[in-house]
């Protein structure tokens, strides 16, 4: 019995001593993370790095890449030292390292003055006139869209990390045009969906707007930019997953706009796409060309990357 217990302690001790961390190894393989092909972020990223063929096709990418959603990529980059991925600037945190692109820091100022290359618009789209579950929902959606152009919405968009379009109107000055917002709407549900890169921004907006507009219920179900049109004006608009307001983190395509009125869509903000790596990775700056080489598989090791400044 004693011998046996002795053996245990030995094995346990051996197991426990085995846990320590290594330093960054330049000769390690690059783990490439990407969004799936419905994603607006992927569309914006691939177009931005000059690899637009890969926006809709996975087989052009380096073999062994991983498809993850927005925050899963963010999460992966906190644990995978050798990973590289891209996310929306609005999701960037200190837990990962956001890289300069061609020497330019991804910041709001650099997006608005057009020096940062990887940017894309945040768009909204609403259902066609009189195609809502109820009139109250339609009126609320119209009020919401008007709210998007106010400074109040701009504050919230900026606070959530996206870059609001300049505006000087306040909600207080136009709210009387939308009498529905003065009523008690706590039983009304408005459904929001589309791009999941916009989810955090959209949630911040609806939280604020619900407080201003009779506490209506905002139901968020964000599944990708492709569904921004599909679930408001496309095939699945009348299914259970139909939405009243859809968001897209890329411009709507001409095919999507074919059956949509000009008043049904608009831009609410700009967003920058940031290349991210693990905090232990020594790299600071990257170029669009290097990114293309990484995603196409020309560079497979971190040591393959040429020096940049």
């Amino acid at each position: 019995m004693k011998k046996i217990i002795g053996c245990f302690t030995l094995i346990l001790a051996l197991l426990l001593t085995g846990c320590s961390r290594g330093l960054f190894n330049e000769d390690a393989k690059i783990t490439v993370y990407t969004r799936d092909t419905t994603s607006g972020t992927r569309d914006g990223f691939m177009n931005g790095i000059g690899f637009s063929e890969a926006a809709k096709q996975d087989d052009l990418l380096v073999s062994g890449f991983l498809i993850k959603d927005n925050t899963a990529i963010l999460n992966a980059m906190t644990i995978d030292e050798y990973g590289i991925g891209y996310i929306s600037l609005s999701s960037l945190t200190d837990n990962v390292k956001g890289l300069k692109l061609n020497g330019v820091i991804p910041s709001e100022a650099n997006v608005l003055n057009d020096t940062y290359d990887l940017k894309r618009p945040f768009m909204w789209m609403i259902r066609a006139e009189a195609d809502y579950p109820s009139e109250a929902v339609e009126l609320l959606v119209q009020a919401f869209v008007a709210f998007l152009n106010t400074t109040d919405a701009g504050d919230i968009i900026n606070n959530a990390g996206a870059i609001a379009l300049p505006s000087s109107t306040t909600w207080d000055s136009i709210k009387n045009d939308y009498p529905i917002t003065a009523e008690d709407n706590h039983l009304i549900t408005v459904r929001f969906g589309g791009s999941d890169s916009i989810q955090k921004v959209a949630q911040a907006l609806t939280q604020a707007f619900s407080a201003k507009a009779g506490n209506f219920i905002a139901e968020h179900d964000h599944t990708g930019s492709g569904d921004g049109w599909k679930r408001t004006n496309g095939d699945s608009k009348d299914q259970a997953e139909g939405k009243d307001v859809g968001f897209s983190s890329r411009n709507f395509t001409s095919a999507e706009l074919a059956n949509v009125n000009a008043t049904q869509t608009g831009q609410l903000a700009w967003d920058a796409i940031v290349t991210i790596v693990h905090n232990d990775n020594p790299i600071e700056n990257i170029t669009t060309q290097i990114l293309k080489n990484i995603y196409s598989g020309a560079y497979t090791l971190w040591s393959d990357l040429p020096e940049t400044d």
């Binding site: 092909t37 644990i79 050798y82």
Partner: protein, 315 residues
């Protein structure tokens, strides 16, 4: 007087019959659910193979069962869904997890039933009971929060890059942990029911206590132990939520690498369901159908082996 009695009696008989029929209906209803499940899964699951899926094209049964890719393109073409690699990885993972859980489970059972002193046995039996009653989502949470980190650090030690620990290994560990209590409980009953005379006979012939335990007790209980393994495999094959938190959601390509990401039939069913009708929705029922078939076949084969093993007398 007698008339009242007869009406009373006939009323009683009526109530009796009524109760009898009512209860029978309830029993029939209970038994019918298995057909409801079967038919729902079949009807929905076969749709992709029989219709042209609203213009997306019919899914071919053979490519579906043998293929190597699960939807890495968003356009929902019929040719993009296949589960061949998922069937194999599912079986591979379950097999590996059984390699851990079977010996550990059976030996734990032996320990509890024959070796440990009474009080210690009682304590360990409670431990196993508690483990058996922990919901799978908590195993999943433990896997995502703890096993993933351990596996990631381990893989770094051996110089392999695992994708955040999401891997075959993590999945195998979680499944093994979840099936050990099942195997232990069932084997313990089998071990305890081994005839005491057999054990005494072995000891009397000069075999050591340990020899008796391993060569006589385990052999005598082998049928029950095998049943335990079958139950364990069943649980592992059907497990979904816990596995989905550590597998990593691989979309294509067969990989037997322990530290590579993976996916099983169940995790694929849980992942990314966007529609509420149409091909992308129905195809999940097809995967469910495949899962049921895999479970049935595995069970059948294992039972066959069990019968074979039962006949051979192991020394």
């Amino acid at each position: 007087m007698s008339r009242i009695n007869t009406t009373l009696r006939s009323k009683k008989i009526l109530i009796d019959q009524f109760a009898h029929q009512g209860l029978k209906t309830l029993a029939l209803l209970s038994a019918s659910f298995i057909f409801l499940i079967g038919s729902v899964i079949l009807v929905k699951g076969l749709t992709p193979f029989l219709t042209d899926n609203d213009g997306l094209g019919r899914v071919g049964l053979i490519p579906f069962i043998t293929g190597n890719v699960w939807l890495i393109d968003p356009t929902f073409q019929s040719s993009l869904y296949s589960v061949g690699f998922l069937i194999i990885t599912t079986l591979y993972i379950v097999f590996l997890s059984l390699l851990i859980s079977f010996p550990v489970g059976v030996l734990t059972a032996l320990f509890i039933a024959k070796i440990a002193p009474k009080k210690l046995a009682e304590c360990f039996r409670s431990v196993v009971e508690i483990l058996a009653s922990i919901p799978s989502i908590i195993y999943g949470l433990f896997g995502a929060g703890f096993i993933l980190k351990i596996v990631y650090q381990m893989s770094q030690l051996v110089g392999v890059q695992s994708k955040g620990g999401n891997s075959v290994l993590s999945t195998v560990i979680i499944l093994a942990l979840m099936t050990i209590p099942t195997i232990t409980t069932v084997s313990e009953v089998a071990i305890r029911s081994v005839d005491q005379r057999l054990i005494e006979g072995s000891l009397a012939l000069g075999a050591s206590f340990t020899q008796t335990n391993f060569k006589v007790v385990l052999t005598a209980a082998k049928s029950g132990i095998f049943t335990a393994a079958i139950l364990g495999v069943g649980r592992a094959l059907g497990e979904a939520t816990a596995v989905s938190l550590v597998a990593g959601g691989r979309r294509s390509g067969l990989s037997f690498d322990l530290l590579d990401t993976t996916a099983t039939l169940t995790t694929t069913m849980l992942e990314g369901m966007k529609e509420s009708q149409g091909l992308d929705y129905n195809i999940r029922f097809s995967v469910g159908m495949v899962l049921l078939v895999v479970i049935l076949i595995t069970n059948f084969l294992l039972n066959l082996i069990k019968r074979k093993v039962g006949k051979i007398h192991v020394k």
